[in-house]
């Protein structure tokens, strides 16, 4: 009997300790998370006070416009992370998204320059984008390759196809749709800014307002439970990659409108896209990616570059600050994960 008592006592104290430890870590994570948000807010407050012209409507619309392409891409990336789980090494990730956008832009611009109209060219760009997404889905879901590696391979496929198509040159493009996107405006807000607003509204509504979105979170967060509840995990995961391809295609049209051409080097955007999707998790209480969080971090990245320029701080600092913030957020996320893991 005494042995049993001792055993239980040990067990209880161990549990208590674990609970206390977990609570402590959760508290710690909360503090760091609020700290990160406070840092964001402090930077913004500094810009509002000291950067000349920062709060002017004109400037803010400029920033929304500048964030449109990154935003649309980041939604695609966020969807993939939600559906595939946010484990950085084994979870969902789409490294091909920026290269895919480059390929779609090349297809769109090339078809336009060959004289095909907007309708056919847009359709072709979207088809190519979704096809590349489907290729990712086949590699990840069908062949069971780690998303990190599968999408890295597809990145190279897409980049190679873009080079073959454009021979690494600038392909100029103009069309009625592009003209509308460049110079159109409604209620004093430019077409490109509207594109981000409308796309954001739709994405947030679908992912956070429907049963479908809820199931997507279930599939990413707890695939075993989702499977037990009768959800088709492969379907949902595949869907996110195709959606990501669709986002790449939409972003490609916005890119061509902004640059009046398809240009090499779209792949450069990948880091910013990843940054936006990862930074976004800091705005969620459970450190999961959310579309709203992604939107906030996309705008934050845009405002950061803008504020620095208005303050006449070297643009080289933007990368540094962005990198430091990513490191901070990834650290917080793994900290919070650690508390979940010990539970």
């Amino acid at each position: 009997m005494s042995a049993t008592v001792l055993h239980t006592e040990v067990g209880v104290s161990h549990e208590k300790q674990a609970a206390a430890k977990s609570a402590g870590r959760r508290f710690g994570a909360l503090v760091v998370r609020l700290g990160a948000i406070a840092a964001f807010a402090a930077i913004m407050a500094y810009f509002v006070i000291f950067a000349p012209g920062f709060t002017s409507t004109f400037n803010l619309i400029n920033v929304v416009e500048q964030s449109a392409i990154l935003g649309v891409l980041a939604y695609g990336m966020t969807a993939v992370i939600i559906g595939g789980g946010s484990d950085v090494t084994e979870g969902g990730i789409d490294l091909s998204i920026a290269a895919n956008m480059g390929l779609c832009a090349a297809v769109y611009a090339t078809l336009l320059s060959m004289g095909y109209g907007d309708f056919l060219s847009v359709l072709a760009a979207i088809a190519v984008g979704m096809a590349v997404g489907a290729l990712n889905a086949i590699a990840v879901v069908g062949l069971g390759i780690l998303p990190l590696l599968a999408t890295l391979a597809v990145l190279n496929v897409a980049a190679g196809m873009e080079l073959t198509l454009t021979q690494n040159t600038v392909v100029g493009a103009s069309s009625p749709l592009l003209g509308l996107l460049v110079s159109g405006s409604f209620l004093g807000i430019s077409a490109l800014a509207w594109a981000l607003i409308v796309f954001s509204a739709i994405t947030i509504a679908v992912i956070h307002g429907t049963a479908f979105g809820l199931r997507l979170y279930a599939v990413g967060g707890h695939p075993e439970a989702a499977r037990a509840a009768g959800l088709s995990v492969p379907f949902y995961v595949s869907f996110t990659y195709v959606l990501s391809g669709f986002c790449a295609a939409v972003a490609s049209i916005l890119t061509v409108s902004r640059l009046s051409a398809s240009t090499p080097g779209s792949g450069e955007l990948l880091l910013s896209v990843l940054a936006a999707a990862l930074l976004g998790t800091v705005f969620s209480r459970r450190f999961v990616p959310t579309m709203g969080g992604t939107l906030l971090s996309v705008l934050f990245i845009g405002l950061l570059a803008n504020g620095f320029q208005l303050l006449n701080v070297s643009s080289y600092w933007v990368n540094g600050v962005q990198g430091a913030l990513i490191l901070l957020v990834v650290a917080i996320t793994s900290f919070a994960r650690g508390s979940e893991g010990s539970r």
């Binding site: 002017s56 640059l259 009046s260 570059a305 803008n306 643009s315």
Partner: protein, 333 residues
């Protein structure tokens, strides 16, 4: 003292005074250049290449020298970033904008917006109808000179490997067209088809493997006489490839004058035949002077050429040194 002498002294004094005031005037017009209280926006597509960095620095240093404030923006070779920077720059309403290189097709609509916003636009090495002045080297000259040097070294016959990946960049187009024009007089010098493509980034590595492949394809000595590129970073890779393949009969030609290439041309054993060295730092400075003149109400020509120097095997020791000294002074190797 007689009247005549008095008159003479008077005349002399007057003349001296006049000369002094003339000197004062001309001195004033040289010193008149000032950007005090002015803000100058500077946008460059990238500064990873020696030329770009030196021109970018030349602009900034000169604006500060003239007492102005610089808003310096380096887009890191990202078109999206350059457009975003220009958009914000327009909202900042600087007194003038100096734009340095980039994709003309991408830039032109935005350069138009700069002018629409009433901001005077100046460009460095970028020919566009929207600029008040473009400061650059005389690329027509450079293109012809380097082509003629190549033909002379080849003895007027042989095959040339040509890198032609950047025909869409205006200065490369001019230099390439000049090469073609020179070759019309020398029918025995032939460009090997298909032409090679230089790329950014990984320019050197890519040029190295391209040239190695072509030399492997034509193994007989003398089957290739020269390698030409419209700038000198591919020339580095090409020179290394020629030397690694032991094909010292092949000489390489390029344009810009990066210190690394000038050193190659100065080395008698190197296969680098010649390089047309530009003065990017001076080009940057001159564009600021043009902006300052314009803002002071003076007339500015649509383009300004800053002299360049052809450095070849014969004159390298003498002509190359000043360029290397300038690079060292700027802290760039």
């Amino acid at each position: 003292m007689t009247n005549t002498v008095k008159g003479l002294v008077k005349a002399l004094a007057l003349g001296l005074a006049a000369a002094c005031s003339l000197a004062a005037i001309s001195g004033a017009s040289a010193e008149e250049l000032s950007l005090k209280g002015k803000r100058i926006g500077v946008s460059a597509i990238g500064t990873d290449h020696y030329w770009d960095l030196m021109a970018f620095r030349g602009i900034q240093d000169r604006v500060k020298e003239l007492g102005g404030e610089v808003i310096a923006l380096d887009a890191g070779r990202k078109d999206q970033q350059q457009i975003a920077q220009l958009q914000t720059l327009i909202a900042q309403k600087p007194d003038a904008i100096i734009e340095q290189l980039g994709n003309l097709e991408v830039l032109n609509p935005w350069l138009q917006k700069i002018r629409d916003a009433g901001i005077p636009l100046f460009t460095v090495d970028t020919a566009t109808p929207h600029a008040i002045n473009n400061t650059t080297s005389n690329n027509y000259n450079i293109g012809a000179e380097i082509a003629l040097q190549m033909v002379a070294d080849m003895g007027g016959k042989g095959n040339v490997l040509v890198f032609n990946g950047f025909y869409s960049v205006p200065v490369c187009k001019i230099r390439y067209d000049q090469l073609k024009y020179v070759l019309t007089s020398f029918p025995d010098v032939k460009i090997v088809e298909p032409e090679l493509r230089d790329v950014i980034p990984n320019t050197v590595q890519s040029a190295y493997s391209n040239v190695t492949d072509m030399l492997t394809k034509s193994p007989e000595k003398g089957s290739v006489g020269a390698v030409w590129a419209c700038w000198d970073v591919p020339q580095i890779g090409a020179t290394q490839a020629v030397e690694a393949a032991g094909r010292n009969e092949v000489k390489t030609y390029g344009i810009d004058g990066s210190p690394e290439v000038i050193k190659m041309v100065m080395d008698p054993k190197s296969s680098a035949g010649a390089v047309a060295a530009q003065q990017p730092y001076e080009i940057g400075k001159t564009s600021v002077d043009n902006a300052a003149k314009y803002l002071a109400g003076q007339k500015v020509p649509p383009f300004t050429f800053v002299p360049s120097v052809l450095i070849n095997k014969e004159n390298a020791a003498e002509k190359g040194k000043p360029f290397l000294d300038a690079a060292e002074k700027a802290g760039v190797k």
